[in-house]
Amino acid sequence: MEPNWALARKRRNLEERARIMQSIRAFFIDRNYLEVETPHRLPGNAPEQHIDPVPSPPWFLHTSPELGMKRLLAAGYERIFQICRCWRQGERGRRHLPEYTMLEWYRAGCDYRSLMEECEDLFCALVPGRSLTLEGRAVDLSPPWERLTVAEAFSRHSDLTPQQALAAGRFDEIIALQIEPWLGRRRPTFLTEYPSACAALARLKPGNTEVAERFELYVAGVELANAFSELTDPAEQRRRFEKDEGARRAAGKPSVPLPEKFLAELETLPAAAGIALGIDRLVMLLCDLQTIDEVVAFTPEDL
């Protein structure tokens, strides 16, 4: 039998992937971040209406390491990062794998704006030339990158306001189909100030509680990272979890236990910000590849 050629021909991408992972670790270690590991198997994840965990009876595989990371923050670990596998049921597409690699980092004493700058710094460290060529088009990585609010993006690319789109149940599809393709084309875009209804674990903006201190990073139309100024109010977090859990039950999804230890320890969480960045998509971008399949040794279909 000949060697598996489809696997052999991924060598350049897998070598680049390893180099990127090593550079990311070096970047954070150099900035005094502590690399941590948290359990991949949990009694329950943070309830999210549109994210389904993979059961690992009697528990679940984590959909993100966020709960464990924030418990570390609350215990006084002020700068932490983790690179780990996450699992999300049913997510398979050109840019989605049900098992994928996430980079998350958290920092005490800062807000989401500092994380935007840190994203810019990370890219400059990974791409010293500060320019990418994606499908023949140049993307300029020199900071500062574009900061665009969700409201501005809707006024550019849609006839609805974010509030009207939410009321019509069309917010997500307008973002995905009408707005995303335009984001980060010439230089990366931070899409910021999400409506408070889409805040998840983010703090509302002081002075304008209509919106949350949350951003998503887009490069060449690809959603790469999601970040918040962290919500530190346990009562408010519980209300949001219960609302999302209620929406899950109403949609006939299995109910999950609320993360009670996390909620209790949230009380000692300092002002902080955190971000989750998809490593597979980052490698896709840095290698100018069109599908996530090309940056992993094995897809679920290969097993």
Binding site: H50, G90, E223
Partner: protein
């Protein structure tokens, strides 16, 4: 009934009373938002292509199609002719319906023909077919790096990428579902 989780390339659905096949499929999901299932659908009767995006929770009727074992006979000006060996009924498919599959048809090949109201509208080939390479650049000595590739052309006129050691005259196995090279066949 199918749910969104069943959607994938090649799935056949009934839409407005006519069979459609998903020609291209992508799953996408903005941020923490709702999943969207982007389909490029082909009407299996008219051949027309259009885009449609579905959201989780929607359901779909499977296409009412008959899959019948038939044998490839020959090609003439009307198209590609297949016969059911049980009742000698013949069905003709045109070139557009076959697409790239026309490169993988061999004489007397056993295939499955998709029928809608007695009319042939699609074909399923065996998963693997062996074809002889007729045109290939010679193997450059020293090019042994795993993962390199070069284009070759087969006896049926199909062009594909293969490892550098494949040469003209070699028999190669091709996966008809993807059109990709699998392995050299020992003779």
């Amino acid at each position: 009934m199918y749910s969104c989780a069943d959607l994938k390339k090649g799935l056949k659905l009934m839409i407005d009373g006519e069979p459609h096949v998903i020609a291209a499929f992508d799953f996408t999901k903005p941020g923490k938002g709702q999943a969207l299932y982007k389909c490029k659908l082909r009407n299996m009767i008219t051949g027309s292509l259009f885009d449609r995006t579905y959201r989780s929770g929607e359901s779909f009727e499977p296409a009412a199609l008959e899959d019948r074992e038939m044998q490839y006979l020959y090609q003439d000006e009307s198209g590609y002719v297949f016969m059911d060996n049980k009742n000698y009924e013949q069905v003709t498919l045109d070139e557009a319906t076959l697409g790239d599959d026309k490169f993988f048809l061999r004489d007397n090949m056993d295939v499955k023909i998709l029928l809608f109201n007695g009319r042939g509208i699609g074909i399923t080939l065996p998963n693997f077919v062996n074809l002889r390479v007729t045109e290939a650049d010679p193997w450059v000595k020293g090019d042994t790096a795993a993962g390199n590739n070069k284009p070759v052309t087969t006896e049926s006129g199909y062009t594909l990428a293969v490892p550098p050691f494949v040469e003209a005259g070699d028999l190669i196995q091709i996966d008809t579902r993807t059109g990709d090279y699998v392995t050299r066949v020992k003779e």
